[in-house]
């Protein structure tokens, strides 16, 4: 069973129809007899070739949200809303269709490369298999393509018959990226692809990912907690807090002129070296990250917000427009509150 439009030829979608459209996505876990909302109403769209970064702290629901798009969430989680991939709702479509999408439409780069690779098979075999199954080519042809692919991510041909444990963490993550690219997907979801890696390797991997994407117009959804990293690799940025997107917009603008106080705190968390304001003055945010099991009335961020207003405790927050292509879930971003300092 395969997709109707194989590989590169499948890019029939035009500029106006989004590749991925997520509408009012909710993910709810059952834990100890209680409903724990991990994702509480997320909307966004992704056009072909778009790169979207999703930032937020642990427990904000960013990984859960991303994985639930392909129905990869944990068992026992309830997913509601719509996930339209090339117009098709992945949440209700048949398993066979979903499998086809997972094969060739959208692939995932998981955070733990070691556990995501099969330890008893060579990396070449693991990349050849999906190519053979999906593109119905001969094994020799698939091996040629896989070797090329591995070479393009910096794994030399002489090493492709090695087993995962023979590679370093950075190399394994490169293999994962090659695997994700193997069936020429339209969308790559990268879940903290560089978290366990060194700064130097991290920069290499991100550069590699950005390059692969630039060449092939693959859309990317990248999830990390490091805002400044995302700003360099993604065109747009979504900041999540307590299961909701609190700010969305072009990366540079979001990073340099955040509308939401939480984004502001995140962007200050990692200082600019040489900036006298942050010398011997680390910036943090008092209070603790929210727990999904606890939900409150009003803005979820109110308890930690340095500029909280009375209305924040009572009013319902939503993503309000805040400039061209931007939106923020903060009452201060609203025009009638704009004058407040």
């Amino acid at each position: 069973m395969t997709t109707e439009a194989p590989g590169a030829a499948g890019k029939t979608t035009t500029e106006d129809t989004p590749l991925l459209e997520v509408r009012d996505l909710h993910v709810t876990y059952r834990q100890g007899g209680n409903d724990v909302p991990a994702v509480r109403g997320v909307d966004f769209t992704l056009a072909p070739g778009d790169t979207l970064g999703i930032a937020g702290e642990s427990g904000c629901g960013k990984s859960t949200m991303a994985l639930s798009l392909l129905r990869l969430q944990d068992r026992g989680a309830r997913v509601e809303g719509e996930v339209l991939f090339r117009g098709e709702n992945l949440l209700t479509t048949a398993w066979s269709r979903l499998r086809a999408v997972r094969w060739a439409g959208a692939s995932v780069v998981f955070q733990g490369a070691m556990s995501a690779l099969n330890p008893v098979r060579t990396v070449l075999d693991q990349i050849v298999e999906p190519i053979v199954l999906h593109d119905k080519v001969r094994v020799s042809e698939a091996e040629r393509r896989a070797t090329e692919l591995l070479d393009s991510v910096g794994i030399p041909a002489r090493r492709v018959r090695g087993y995962p444990h023979e590679f370093s963490g950075g190399q394994r993550q490169r293999v994962m990226i090659a695997m994700a690219l193997a069936c020429r997907p339209d969308l790559i979801i990268a879940d903290e692809p560089t978290t366990a890696l060194d700064v130097m390797v991290q920069a290499q991997i991100l550069e590699l990912l950005a390059e692969s994407v630039r060449e092939s117009r693959i859309a990317v959804m990248m999830i990390t907690h490091d805002l400044s990293l995302l700003a360099h690799t993604c065109d747009r940025l979504a900041v999540m807090y307590a299961g909701r997107i609190v700010e969305l917009g072009p990366s540079r603008q979001v990073l340099q002129a955040p509308e939401h106080p939480y984004t502001r705190a995140l962007s200050r968390a990692f200082p600019t070296i040489g900036d006298p304001a942050s010398r011997r003055a680390p910036a943090g945010l008092a209070g603790d990250p929210p727990r999904p099991s606890r939900t409150s009335v009003g803005c979820d961020f109110a308890d930690r917000c340095p500029d909280v207003l009375p209305v924040c405790r009572t009013g319902e927050m939503q993503l309000w427009p805040a400039g061209p292509g931007r939106s923020a879930a903060c009452v201060r971003a609203l025009p009638d509150q704009g004058g407040t300092p």
Partner: protein
Amino acid sequence: MSAAQVLSSQEVAAAVPARFAGVRRFARAFRHRPSGVAGLAVLLLFSLLALVAPLFIGQDQLDVTKVDGPLLSAPSGHYPLGTDQAGRNVLLLLIWGSRESLRIGIIATALTVVIGAGIGIVAGHYGGWVGRALMHVTDWFIALPSLPLAISLAAVLGQGETSITIAIAATSWTATARLVRAQTLAVEARPFVERARALGAGDWQIMVRQVLPNVTPLILVSSTLTVAGALLSEATLTFLGLGNPASITWGEMLNNAFFNGAFTADAWWYLLPPGLAILVVVLGFTLTGRAVEHVLDPRTEDRS
């Protein structure tokens, strides 16, 4: 700025958690697991019966020379589980037999846990040649076949519960030791052991205060399985004639039933009860063990 000074030392001391707060939390969580409660109830019922048995069962009802019941008679109002080949009440035998069977099971398990956990933790903690030597001893015991060991012990110490208990303990502690050693290695690799060492803890303090609490759940769970295994081993060894023929255990009952024509006489009431009793008690231990395992794992604990 610091509200700390406002509180007196008595007030602070009052907030110090009680020593056995953990036990109470455990008990509360255990109550929410019906299968575990059922298992524990079965065990308590059997233990209670075993403890109070001397109050209503006298030697005249157990001694083959003193009983006057009908021989191998089917269950009736007077004999709810029938009688054996000597005319004894099978129900009373069953209750009396639980005393010896449970005693052997529990003592053998206690020995197994103490030896196995002790050697496992020491071997895991020290590593090096100490650990290797201890593991070689363990391997040597693993190779020891239980049946011939029990037979030779019976020859040396005489038939009876002592040799059976020792035989069971000698062959089952190795599994616990291996398990505990593996878990000790895993626990020792975790940062809190390094933290304790950096704070100044010595080997003994690390083994007792850091490692032991973290291997205890495993020891508890494995010991419930060991009890079950010990009960079955007891039945096997006694059935094979290594027990003391004069004492009454469930294994001995099976042995008697088998060799005194319960089969040919179709006396199911003599064969089934000891077998079922073993089954129920073993099940009780396993259910309790599984519930304990669930409750002790902090990740499955209810976070209310």
